[in-house]
Amino acid sequence: MHPQHPAEAGPPMITARLSGIRLAGMVSAVPDSFMTAADDAKIFGEKDMRRILKNTGVKQRHVTRSGLCASDLMLPAAEVLLADLGWEKDSIQALVVVTQGPDYLLPATACVLQHRLGLSTSLAAFDINLGCSGFVYGLWAVSSLMSSGLKRALLCVGDMSTRSASPLDRSIWPLFGDGASVAALEADAGAGPMTFVLGTDGRGAPNLILPVGGFRHRPRFPETSERRKCADGNVRSEEDVHMNGLEVLTFTLNTVPFLVGSILDAAGWSIEDVDHFVFHQASTFILKTVAAACKLPPAKVVIGMENWGNTSSASIPFAMCDKLRAQLESGSKRLLLAGFGVGWSWAGVALTAGPLVMPEILVVADQPPEHPLGPPAEPEPGTSEETPTTGSD
């Protein structure tokens, strides 16, 4: 439990140190529809909801009611960020989307988003399937790519987690919110190092899982879509996400103190050197428990999920946009970011960030696009749109 000595008893982790890449800007976005703890109390009862609220610390979270996709939030977020940065769309050379809720099983959401954003076709684009650890993994992946000579890139993260949640599952429904964030990165020879630590342990896969929908179990059979009361007392189907909160907490307590210690060791920093610790916003209770286990000063641990909930891979950017915007817009801060959860997967980074371009959190109309793959093709001149007929009047 001593972050200063991670190698003694913690899980093995890899480290990577990258220089010359600058985090230039960041923005987050939510749908305009939301639910409050009072709404949840109607489902779970006042008494239980008081206890749940004490654990989650989530007073409201944004919840799509229309079937919005994460990319529908990434699109306006990226537009606003690029405009505020003053970056030409043609200058973006890589677009990486981190999500567990892709628009389609194929093609990659990043490919669809490249076209919707009007970015150059001279661009590398792909998806990464990660959640809680996804922002830091994405930062590492994009920075590594850029080290090969790219100038500018966008990292889009986020999920519409409520779309795969049972409204009757109290371990999930009152905790998760829908949201997405976009970060802009730029090559800058003067940018200081980013020191990453990453790890994986697939033994944790059953503890946070959406069992049906991939190729292992195809969706929409009556036996997988029927919601039943489960052993943990929650009501859900196999097509709803399942989380074993107890396993998540013990995994977190067994991993994060060593992750934090490893990052500090690798960066040559002490706890005192860090201005802000921004962890995956798993739940307020987990954040406070982890902060205590790591012996971190509570004032340095950012908790920014009261109005957004747990927003999966976007939760670290949401906490930064919500709680650190003024500081990061005007100056630079030494940050330790760490994501941990679904996989199990974990990743952390020590970096000096700022000043950043950070537009206000966007509230986007909860209205899916009419043509998410782009407008229908115009008919070729001289061709007829009339349906051919075989008979005559």
Binding site: M1, R51, I52, N55, S171, D232, G233, N244, G245, L246, E247, L249, T250, L253, N254, F285, T289, A292, A293
Partner: protein, 65 residues
């Protein structure tokens, strides 16, 4: 944690019958043990506990390790 007055839970109490003992209470129990004793209990073994005595043994066993 279970919102019961101190001393009301006996060692032979079944957790299933203990009012307020549920997944939220179990999570709080793990956090409390971690904060007070620096131990992280096994989620699997905690799930297998059926009485208050099992919880005590689980913590005692970890302390002896």
């Amino acid at each position: 944690m279970i919102e019961a007055a101190p001393g009301t839970a006996r060692e032979d109490h079944s957790l299933a019958d203990l009012e307020g003992w549920d997944s939220l209470a179990a999570v709080s129990f793990v956090a409390e043990v971690n904060a007070r004793l620096g131990l992280t209990l096994s989620a699997k073994r905690l799930t297998e506990a059926s009485t208050v005595r099992d919880l005590i043994r689980l913590v005692d066993g970890n302390l002896e390790d």
